[in-house]
């Protein structure tokens, strides 16, 4: 596609339910990042995929969070037993080194609200 696509754009869920957020990166981009952004705050790193390497999961806040990237393309971020503090915008970004530039392209984000 033309850009990074995330779905759903908005998700309201009840506390305790599981949610899955999807990211379709730009075709051919080997690097994929997930970030979380609370209102008016910075970008909180969650997880990083680079090619076939083991993902860098150092940013995942708890074992309720997990992510996978199938076939080096689409990624899903799963949050189990959601809590109210999980409410935030979840941003996905992909990048590829071209001509020495590794610009990260961000999706529009998924706004998660846990009620």
């Amino acid at each position: 596609g033309a850009g990074v696509s995330q779905s759903p754009s908005n998700k309201v869920t009840e506390k305790g339910k599981d949610v899955e957020l999807r990211c379709d990166p730009i075709s051919g981009h080997t690097a994929l990042y997930w970030y979380r952004q609370s209102l008016g705050q910075g970008l909180e790193f969650l997880i990083y995929f680079q090619g076939n390497s083991a993902p860098d999961k150092s940013g995942l806040p708890s074992d309720r969070f997990s992510a996978e990237r199938t076939g080096g393309s689409v990624s899903t971020l799963t949050i189990q037993r959601t809590q109210q503090e999980d409410s935030a915008v979840y941003l996905c970004a992909s990048s590829e080194h071209r001509g020495g530039i590794a610009e990260a392209f961000f999706g529009q984000g998924t706004r998660l609200t846990v009620v």
Binding site: A31, Y33, Y35, G40, Q41, G42, L43, F45, Y48, Q50, D56, S58, L91, A93, G100, I101, A102, E103, A104, F105, F106, G107, Q108, G109
Partner: protein
């Protein structure tokens, strides 16, 4: 692990005044990138700096990369209301992932 500190967190200026945000990394960087996030939007790439001491300009924006490749700055001359948003730096070491600073949120009073 690598840390990227960005200051100030907030900056309020009168339209026409200058603005600068600073980014400092705990480790030497391979490159540093700058992004702008408009209110309600997502971060959008502005520029990448690679060389020690590099200076790049985009109209009223001037980007600098320190000689030691551990710090960077973004300077906006004569701010306009269209400059409002949060400016993030992202530092990438030779190996591993980029790390974003916490951003500087700029508000411009007309």
């Amino acid at each position: 692990g690598q840390q990227v500190m960005q200051i100030p967190q907030y900056q309020h200026v009168q339209e026409g005044e200058d603005f600068t945000t600073y980014c400092n990394s705990s480790t030497t960087l391979s490159n540093i990138q700058w992004y702008k996030q408009r209110p309600g939007g997502h971060p959008v790439f502005l520029i990448q700096l690679v060389k020690s001491g590099e200076v790049k300009k985009q109209k009223r924006l001037t980007f600098q990369f320190g000689e030691a490749k551990k710090n960077s700055s973004l300077h906006i001359t004569a701010t306009q209301t269209t400059d409002v948003g949060t400016y993030f730096c992202a530092g990438k070491p030779n190996a591993g992932k980029s790390t974003f600073g916490d951003g500087t949120t700029l508000t411009v009073k007309p």
